[in-house]
């Protein structure tokens, strides 16, 4: 696999004044292949979000280098750098509330980037935005609406559409599902998996939920106090953790397995697949036998 993104001894230190320094990212080396999905896990304060923001150019690294297709990314982005390189690495943020401008319509949010980058002509912007919204499971009718009119999961879809509008090669997802409910998490994770396949995306997926990260990623990197302490194929890290910190994380993982062992398998539900809710499907559901209402109700 060609390395698409290469991190070499990346460091990001924050100076708090009075000589205090937080070594948020302290020498991280990681190579991500083309079309690979790498999961990055760790607890709050381990530096995973800082690393994500450094990779997309939101923080200038204190040291080390980040290479995209072998070319070092600038430490401080200038206007031209963003145009040339910035759009190739896009980010999806954790909080679908604060990461969308409340005063912009969905159309403005999605078309702003590609218009600035000259990827879309103004005349075609609306139709291309409509196409993109369709791909992330929103309707073209949503274009004139504002972020506050959407649920958390739908907002995350808007954020994904905004990122994809720039035709990136790398998608950095910083805790994209941790603010969402379980049923909606599955919607967003499935969407990301589908887009990854259809658009050939490379993904850096950051989360603290190890079981979800294992599900999404080819490899998992475990971060603790600014460093990667374990890196390996997803199932190896999850089922045969070597580092004591990873072991502690796996052991503390909320006991999804416990739920599963209590359950008997439910094959039929999976066979049936996602519950389609098209009008004709609704009709057939109504045709099924039903009990008449009880006489006393």
């Amino acid at each position: 696999m060609t390395p698409l993104l290469e991190l070499r001894e990346v460091r990001k230190h924050f100076h708090l004044g009075h000589g205090k320094v937080v070594r948020a990212v302290d020498g991280v080396s990681l190579t991500i292949g083309e079309r690979e999905a790498v999961g990055l896990v760790g607890e709050s304060g381990c530096g995973k979000s800082t690393l994500a923001r450094t990779v997309v150019g939101l923080h200038p690294p204190t040291g080390g280098s980040i290479l995209f297709r072998g070319e070092p990314l600038p430490v401080r982005y200038r206007a031209g750098d963003f145009r040339r390189l910035g759009r190739k690495i896009q980010m999806i943020f954790q909080d679908p509330y604060s990461s969308l401008d409340p005063r912009m319509t969905v159309r403005e949010i999605v078309t702003e980037g590609p218009l600035i980058h000259g990827l879309w002509r103004r005349a075609e912007a609306v139709s291309r935005a409509a196409l993109l919204l369709g791909r992330v499971g929103l309707s073209p009718d949503d274009m004139s609406r504002f972020p506050h009119e959407f649920s958390g999961g739908q907002r995350q879809r808007i954020g994904i559409a905004r990122a994809l509008a720039l035709e990136p090669e790398v998608l950095v997802c910083d805790e994209p599902i941790s603010a969402l409910d379980v049923s909606v998490q599955a919607q967003v994770v499935n969407l990301l998996a589908r887009l990854r396949r259809s658009m050939g995306l490379t993904i850096l997926f950051i989360a603290h939920d190890l079981s979800m990260v294992r599900y999404v990623s080819d490899r998992i990197a475990v971060m603790d106090r600014g460093r990667i302490v374990e890196l390996g194929p997803a199932d190896d890290v999850y089922f045969r953790p070597k580092h004591p910190y990873t072991r502690a994380l796996v052991a503390a993982n909320p006991a999804l397995e416990l739920v599963r062992t209590l359950r008997r398998p439910i094959p039929a539900l999976s066979v049936q697949g996602p519950v389609a809710r098209e009008p004709d499907e609704r009709g057939s559901a109504l045709d099924r036998p039903y009990p008449p209402p009880p006489p006393d109700a």
């Binding site: 607890e43 379980v182 049923s183 994770v189 503390a252 993982n253 739920v259 039929a268 559901a285 008449p292």
Partner: protein, 341 residues
């Protein structure tokens, strides 16, 4: 056994600019001494409003309890004056919340906050009160408790603050602990420690716990009984084994199918629950899960099902458990299905 807490037909509404939201629509359950009941559900299902109503903490305005009965140790809590409630809350009933930073007083050392409850309920002051406060901090395993008692909340980490909250909640030896998402804001390793501590204290003191959470993993780890809430109602309730191993409501099955499978190499696609919960400004006439249910029937659109008994102690608010329905194999729970209302 006589239940410690018995809730019937509880209703809670909140006024908003768009009208009244019916957050809780007729919730009922009971908790026996020493047991843990977990109330699970997703955001907006009414689980927090339910617990706030139990503790008389529904902010009014804009909220109000519209119906129901809450009997705790034989006494009706709804309609009780704040003065009367204050003799119960903090003494017989402890409460811990999700965010320990906003529920502790930031301007008061934690030791002093602890002695406040002891003074109010037990008339304990001065040196003996401080001793008890330090004992409590030690009990929740805060290292160097004597010195830390003089620290302010901001000097504690999230997990430590939650320990302080627990110490305050158990200070007067309550019979019931209400815990509203106590570990949601914490890292998983800290979460595991706090859950272990809660379980240990519960066993030691024979305390009952009502635990609110959205995390099915947490439920499986600590609860005896589970109530699954959806759109302001309990849709399924029973023991942990009943609800997870013999799930009898399509929503419960849907939640489980949406979680990643744990087996090695198992990358079965997650099955999300498409759509979203109904608008509680105008709750639907029929089943609230109708739009999202893979097994929806005609009756479900027009008539809200009652809680039907799947087997003793295991109930599901779903027409599929009516004796006349053709149940899909996934819902063929063990035992005789009988209709009740």
């Amino acid at each position: 056994m006589i239940p410690l807490l018995e809730v019937r037909d509880l209703g809670v509404e909140f006024d908003t600019y768009g009208g009244a939201v019916q957050a809780v629509r007729g919730v009922g359950f009971s908790v026996e001494p020493g047991k843990t009941l977990a109330i699970v559900g997703e955001s907006g299902c009414g689980k927090s409003a339910t617990v706030h109503a139990l503790a008389g903490l529904v902010p009014s305005p804009p909220g109000r309890v519209t119906s129901g009965s809450v009997r705790f140790e034989g006494r009706q809590l709804l309609g009780m004056s704040t003065r009367e409630l204050n003799r119960i809350r903090g003494k017989r009933m402890g409460v811990i919340f999700q965010d320990p930073m906003t529920s502790l007083n930031p301007t008061m050392p934690v030791g002093k906050q602890l002695t406040e409850a002891l003074r109010f309920h037990e008339g304990l002051t001065g040196r003996p009160a401080r001793h008890r406060a330090i004992e409590l901090l030690e009990r929740v395993r805060i290292a160097d408790a004597g010195a830390r008692a003089d620290d302010y909340p901001f000097q504690f980490s999230g997990g430590m603050r939650q320990r302080v909250m627990i110490a305050m909640a158990i200070a007067c030896g309550p019979a019931l602990l209400l815990a509203d998402e106590p570990t949601t804001a914490l890292d998983v390793t800290v979460q595991a420690e706090i859950l272990a501590l809660l379980t240990e204290l519960q066993r030691e003191r024979g305390m009952a716990v009502v635990l609110i959470t959205h995390d099915l993993g947490v439920v499986a780890r600590v609860a005896d009984d589970v109530a699954v809430m959806y759109a302001g109602r309990i849709v399924e309730r029973g023991t942990v084994e009943d609800v997870f191993a013999r799930s009898a409501h399509p929503y419960t099955l849907g939640l489980e199918a949406a979680m990643p499978h744990a087996g090695e190499g198992d990358r079965r696609p997650l099955v999300p629950i498409e759509g979203s919960p109904p608008d509680l400004f105008r709750p639907p006439a029929g089943c609230a899960y109708f739009d999202r249910c893979p097994w929806a029937m005609q009756v479900c659109e027009s008539r809200d099902p009652p809680l039907l008994t799947v087997k003793t102690g295991h109930e599901s608010r779903c027409w599929l458990h009516d004796a006349r329905a053709h149940r899909p194999p996934e819902l063929q729970a063990d035992g005789q299905v009988e209709a009740s209302s």
